[in-house]
Amino acid sequence: MGIKAKRTLGNTITYIVLIIISIIWLFPFVCLFLQSLRSYNEGGGGMVEYLLPKQFSLDSYKVLFSQDSQFVRWYLNTLIIAAFVAVLQTIVVLCVSYALSRMRFAGRTFLMRFWLILGMFPGFLTMICLYFLLKQFGLTQQGAIPGLILISVASSGMGYYVTKGYFDTIPKALDEAARIDGASRARVFLTMILPMSKPIIIYAALVAFMAPWCDYIFASYVAFGYSDSYNVAVAMQRWVWTNDYQGYFTRFCAGGMLVAVPITILFICLQKYYVEGVTGGAVKG
């Protein structure tokens, strides 16, 4: 067998494997989509042994947007949390990263080590204490939305690694030159470093924006049964565990599509920045 034939064979095998992988990866999402199109009155709530809906309909989507469902409210809750967290957390992370990357001050290494150690405690350990603290500020149940934003943003300074790593790669000589010309640190940060850091800012904001959509633990604990303050994850989780395949589970699929599609599109558009961020973070550790 010649080299050429060998290569063609190798490539063919690779294509076959890649196609199989793609099918495995996409299959659940296709099922999710098809199931969300099932009509509502297809019999009982038990199991089904077919994938294609017998009758395509938008019933489940209609239910989500009807008066009976609070889905729109939950969706907006999550969107508000995600937007605020994305903006505020990015600002916090950028501030911390700049200070740690560029400035040398007493206690700098102590701070970094201390945060590293803090990060080794599991996050859910402090749940009851956080709930109590939020309650003191009136930020549980009715106030759960600002409360959740506050918790996420307050501790976000510890996640500076990737951004600091990026700042470290920008030559310090640039800072020094500007400072000799009389620019203050703040000016250097705002007018020089930030404009040069667009990729990492987009990465940080993207990651911060996506996290609240999955937040179940704190969101359910802080909202504590007050359904107006639920986010999509908390609310829709309850639909799945009803074991009602035709009703609630179909509704879950429809809701899942509405959550997944915009986020996936956003993510795929910004994929380039995401890859840059995770790769940089992985190599520098």
Binding site: E49, C95, P122, I128, C129, R185, W213, A282
Partner: protein, 465 residues
């Protein structure tokens, strides 16, 4: 190891000589200082105020006034009960209603806050002395003291770090440090369902909770703890390394010369990162449920006669979790390794090919060593992240299947963190949850320390930063 012991001794020695120097300087400042400085020992900021440093002077004075006000009106009331955590939970009034008295939760939380604030106050007090000494030095050298404008400008320039870090550090203190310290202390109390403030008190029990975790009698948690810990480690190992090697394999396939639509393959895989996990994982969970899609299709086709217990058989559930985690994890590793694989110089492969190396040999002696070197820190963070990978377990099995053999509602696929979560939410067994939290910390810290020391890239990149 000898090296680190020496440096450890050095650090301790440094610490004590540092403390000694501090006291020496505090004494010297007093002995050599003028009367304004001496008054500043009692009335903070007095010296700066007299030297017309109004901003700094008032700031120090305000700190002192606020601190005294805090201690008198608030802190002391809680701190005095710190040793007992309260003696009387509630008293019955004449009309039969209760009025609440001591609340152990508040006493512990606010006592800790007060203790930390006392230390912070001491630091500020020390800064106040140093400020006095500096001012005296400057004046005796005939120099001008700084202006208010200069002080404020320095916050944007030489002290810009303080401006940047003030809020983040405060946030981390209130919402991370204080709660963690609080929970560490909870591990030494009997705070559980039977001791819930404000109706009941809880109090110190010493090491009883830790003994309970390591006792292997019928009442103890020992065997359950070991089962859960064992699975946590096994899970973290497979979740990290299987995804790592499979992800790298997929990346190599996509990177291969002559393969088209590279971007399309990547985008398809990346879907599982983009779609929120509660949607994708919950759906997959239902697919494999006893009455889910997979089982019903297999039954329809007559492959099986009764449903495969994907989630209720402990071993099968564990395998399912690891396999489904591949679905989530491979794209992530694929993204990271793609860029790195392209960094490997092509001529290395060329010369290997001329020497007649097979694909596998090249992978073994060129690709793998390079990748392990570069992604060492990533593997470590992945491993510790997987030890605490709450979402995958919780959304798929919620720790189940449960068993009578395991105590405290633990299930066969529970990780330490999901068990901790169940203890907090379902059992309100805060004392044991706190102990488990400390154990998670210990496991993470020990593994990180051991592995970190072994990483080749850490030693080599020491000078890189």
């Amino acid at each position: 190891m000898g090296n680190s012991a020496n440096s450890g001794k050095g650090a301790v020695g440094k610490f004590f000589s540092g403390v000694g120097n501090e006291f020496k300087e505090i004494g010297l400042t007093f002995a050599q200082g003028d009367w304004k400085t001496k008054v500043s020992y009692l009335i903070m900021g007095f010296g700066p105020l007299m030297r017309r440093q109004f901003l700094r002077g008032f700031a120090y004075l305000a700190v002192e006034v606020l601190f005294i006000w805090y201690m008198v009106s608030f802190g002391w009331h809680y701190l005095k009960d710190f040793t007992t955590l309260g003696t009387v939970a509630r008293v019955m009034n004449n009309d039969g209603t209760f009025s609440y008295n001591d609340n152990s939760f508040l006493i512990l939380l606010y006592s800790l806050l007060t203790i930390i604030l006392i230390f912070a106050f001491l630091v500020v007090w020390r800064m106040n002395l140093r400020e006095n000494r500096n001012e005296e030095k400057l004046l005796s050298a005939g120099k001008q003291l700084g202006t208010v404008k200069g002080d404020l400008y320095s916050l944007l320039d030489s002290h810009f770090d303080k401006t940047l870090l003030a809020l983040p550090v405060l946030g981390i203190f209130v919402f991370t440090v204080l709660p963690i310290v609080f929970m560490i202390f909870i591990a030494f109390t009997d705070y559980d369902a039977n001791h819930q403030p404000p109706t009941n008190l809880f109090t110190w029990v010493g090491l009883e909770n830790f003994k309970n975790l390591f006792s292997f009698g019928t009442a103890g948690l020992g065997s359950t703890f070991l089962t859960v810990l064992g699975w946590t480690l096994i899970w973290a190992f497979f979740a990290t390394f299987l995804t790592y090697f499979c992800g790298m394999g997929v990346a190599i396939m996509i990177n291969k010369k002559g393969i088209k639509f590279k971007k399309l393959w990547r985008t398809i895989l990346v879907m599982t990162i983009a779609v929120p996990q509660f949607v994708s994982l919950l759906y997959v969970y239902k697919m494999f449920a006893n009455d889910g899609l997979v089982n019903s299709y297999l039954m329809k086709w007559g492959v099986i006669s009764s449903a495969i217990p994907f989630w209720s058989n402990p071993l099968l559930a564990k395998i399912m979790i690891i396999v489904i985690n591949l679905w989530i994890g491979i794209p992530y590793t694929m993204l990271i390794t793609t860029g790195l694989l392209m960094n490997i110089p092509e001529d290395l492969y060329e010369s290997a090919r001329i020497d007649g190396a097979t694909g596998f040999q090249m992978f073994k002696s060129i690709t793998l060593p390079y990748m392990l070197f570069v992604t060492g820190p990533f593997l470590l963070t992945q491993f510790t992240g997987n030890l605490n990978n709450f979402n995958v377990i919780f959304l798929l099995t919620q720790g189940g299947p449960q068993s009578m053999k395991l105590s405290n509602n633990a299930g066969y696929t529970d990780l330490l963190v999901t068990w901790l979560y169940k203890m907090t939410i379902n059992d309100t067994n805060y004392r044991m949850a706190a102990v488990l939290g400390i154990m998670v910390f210990v496991v993470t810290a020990v593994i990180s320390l051991i592995v970190y020391g072994m990483l080749p890239s850490v030693r080599d990149e020491e000078g890189f930063q």
